[in-house]
């Protein structure tokens, strides 16, 4: 298996005037292509920081991040944006849909920034919405959907651009168990059917056990 995510000597230090907080300390991590990995640990242990660094949403204080063989630390802002657009899909705990856009426009967002023609955008967005079972809700707005439906829209948005890696930050954290199970089912299908690499931060031991590997964090350090 090829290594698709490689973190070497990652430290992340948050500084304020008064205090310094070491959120990640000397993290070395490799994730293979097609793996479904869970990241677990108590609140504040650095799980989300790790996911943000893998997702190139945040830069480490020191260390090297390689995604699909490309080292991200030297990339310009514009290159990072393009790279995220092509390689990464995000699913957030709070869905982070844009409330002023309807379902299909939300899903199309990643395609807008790679200049996909309007007709093709619509086709691709419809395809992924069918897959998550929301093809009949394309003109609804996020405020008109349930939490589970919002998260399915968020997953559709994450996969519409066909990224190799999906980063999910507590994707079921705001959902009841039934809806949570539905979301997990979709994520597993993306992993097994589409061979997408998935890194999921979760507090749910049962969900984590169903993934290929569990990485545990404590106080910014990888403990397992």
């Amino acid at each position: 298996m090829n290594t698709i995510i490689s973190l070497t000597g990652i430290n992340k230090l948050y500084r304020t005037k008064e205090i310094e907080t070491l959120a990640l300390e000397n993290v070395n991590l490799s994730i293979n292509e097609g793996e479904f990995v869970s990241v677990m640990g108590p609140s504040g242990c650095g799980k989300s920081t790790l996911l943000n660094i893998i997702g190139l949403l945040d830069r480490p204080t020191s260390g090297t991040v390689k995604i699909d063989g490309v080292e991200a630390s030297a990339m310009s802002d514009r290159s990072l944006a393009r790279f995220r657009n092509n390689e990464l899909g995000f699913v957030f705990q709070n869905f982070h849909l844009i409330n002023s856009l309807n379902v299909i426009d939300n899903v199309e967002i990643p395609l807008l920034y790679r200049n996909t023609p309007a007709k093709r955008r619509r086709e691709l967005a419809m395809k992924v919405l069918e897959r998550v079972g929301l093809a009949h809700r394309i003109n609804h707005y996020p405020s008109q959907l349930s939490g589970g439906q919002c998260q399915r829209v968020a997953i559709a948005r994450a996969i519409v651009g066909n990224p190799k890696i999906i980063l999910a930050d507590e994707p079921t954290g705001n959902l009841d168990s039934k809806m949570g199970a539905e979301i997990m089912e979709i994520l597993h299908s993306l992993n097994t059917d589409d061979h997408r690499t998935i890194v999921m931060v979760t507090h749910n031991e049962n969900q984590a056990k169903l993934t290929n590997r569990i990485i545990r964090f404590f106080d910014g350090r990888q403990v397992q």
Binding site: R78, A81, R84, N94, H96, I109, P110, L112, Y113
Partner: protein, 432 residues
């Protein structure tokens, strides 16, 4: 790149989500644009080709003359005497026509013989070339001729409004007798009216200046000004050189030296008056235009600074959306473009409102507003007419667009850029 439809929808969403902020922003833009547009309309009306002054780019003016006795015994300053007009302005090769206008263009009384009604009219005593320099459209009849001038005939060309008032219509006026200041005068032509805003060309009754008793009573100076129509291919400097030569020759035979302050002035120089010309009559064009440009810029920048506060509030509310878009591949420059264009849509709405407000402001203040900082536009008693070409000009629309662009950039560029520098993670957490 985000689509135009989405940009418009997003701008409309901003209006819906923050109606008070949007209303304040649009009103602020509208007021700022109104101020600039009122100024622009005033100078558009003064500078652009507007009926009957369609040839302003070729027009030149000679007014003030200073006469100094060669023996130093005295000095006088006014306009040209009749002798000076004849000596200086005859056979000019650089001019197609020279309108000679007497300063006696004051309100006159007009009566129709046999009737007891007294009408008022703004008269203009001039020569036939007046109708060549100014592009008056004859609705009926003809202008007065060189023969009429030579004979000092009491003939008149009326403007249509006055003809309608006196005789009902233009055709019915031709050949009719009227009494101008109790002197019998025959109506020989009727022209489409100009506007009192263009004082040099405006009149309700045009008469030969030779009809004024004592029109050729001479002194070192006199009551006549001249407006030239420069020949195509000739320049203002050619005209100046030619007139200087005529003055030199004329002065060599008399005991007076005349000084004309580096005139004739172009229409531009004439419009800006003393602000545009220094004591020796030299044009200060770049400096004066720069001064007006700075005033206009300040009129836009001051409100822009205030509007920035509203923009910051609006963009801060959207920091979560911005972070989401960045997460999924939007670049900072792409988002900056999006925010600027969205804001421009709102700015444009304000600018259009400002344009209409400026029309309303100009309309209701038209009797005095065109005399601001102007040494030669007279406020006639009659209410100046505002024609469509004065208000609906591509130049004015371009100025609105430029004003909106300046306001947009000045008010939203820095707040937008500042917000876009916000780290993605921080913005996402704030949204949470």
């Amino acid at each position: 790149m985000i689509t135009t439809k989405q940009l418009i929808r997003s701008a409309l969403t901003q209006i819906k989500t923050a109606p008070l902020n949007t209303a304040l922003y649009i009103s602020g833009v509208a007021l700022a644009v109104t101020t600039v547009m009122v100024l622009s309309i005033i100078y558009h009306v003064k500078l652009s080709p507007i009926y009957p002054e369609n040839n302003r780019d070729r027009m030149a003016y000679l007014q003030q003359v200073r006469a100094t006795k060669k023996d130093g015994s005295g000095m006088s300053q006014y306009y040209m005497s009749h002798t000076l007009v004849k000596n200086w302005l005859s056979d000019l090769k650089s001019a197609d026509a020279v309108a000679v206008i007497s300063d006696s263009d004051q309100p006159a009384t007009i009566m129709i013989p046999g009737q007891e009604i007294l009408y008022n009219a703004v008269t203009k005593f001039t020569n036939p070339d007046f109708f060549k320099v100014y592009d008056y459209e004859f609705i009926a009849g003809v202008p007065f001729s060189p023969d009429d001038i030579a004979a000092g005939r009491n003939v008149a060309v009326l403007n249509q409004n006055k003809a309608d008032e006196l005789f009902g219509n233009a055709e019915a006026s031709i050949g009719r007798e009227i009494e101008v200041n109790f002197k019998s005068t025959k109506v020989i032509g009727v022209v489409k009216p100009g506007s009192a805003i263009s004082a040099n060309s405006f009149g309700e009754a045009f008469l030969p200046y030779t009809a004024i008793p004592g029109y050729d009573k001479d002194g070192d100076v006199g009551p006549y000004i001249a407006v030239f129509l420069i020949k195509p291919g000739k320049t203002i400097d050619d005209l100046k050189a030619e007139i200087s030569e005529h003055i030199r020759k004329s002065d060599s035979t008399i005991d007076v030296t005349h000084y004309i302050f580096n005139q004739p002035y172009t229409h531009y120089e004439q419009t800006f008056g003393s602000a545009y010309v220094d004591e020796d009559g030299n044009a200060k064009d770049a400096k004066t235009l720069g001064y007006y440009a700075i005033v206009a810029l300040i009129l836009l920048l001051v409100p822009a600074m205030n509007l920035s506060g509203l923009i910051i509030g609006g963009i801060n509310r959207r920091s979560g959306e911005i972070a989401i878009r960045k997460s999924f591949g939007a670049s900072r420059s792409g988002l900056l473009w999006q925010l600027m264009v969205e804001n421009f849509i709102l700015t444009l709405l304000g600018a259009i409102a400002g344009l209409f407000l400026s029309y309303v402001a100009v309309y209701f203040s038209r009797q005095w507003i065109f005399t601001i900082s102007d040494s030669w536009v007279n406020a006639y008693d009659s209410v100046p007419e505002l024609s469509p070409e004065m208000l609906l000009s591509p130049t004015l629309f371009a100025i609105v667009l430029i004003a909106a662009l300046i306001l947009n950039i000045a008010s939203s560029l820095i707040p937008s850029w500042w917000t876009l520098r916000h780290p993605i993670v921080q913005s996402l957490n704030e949204k949470r």
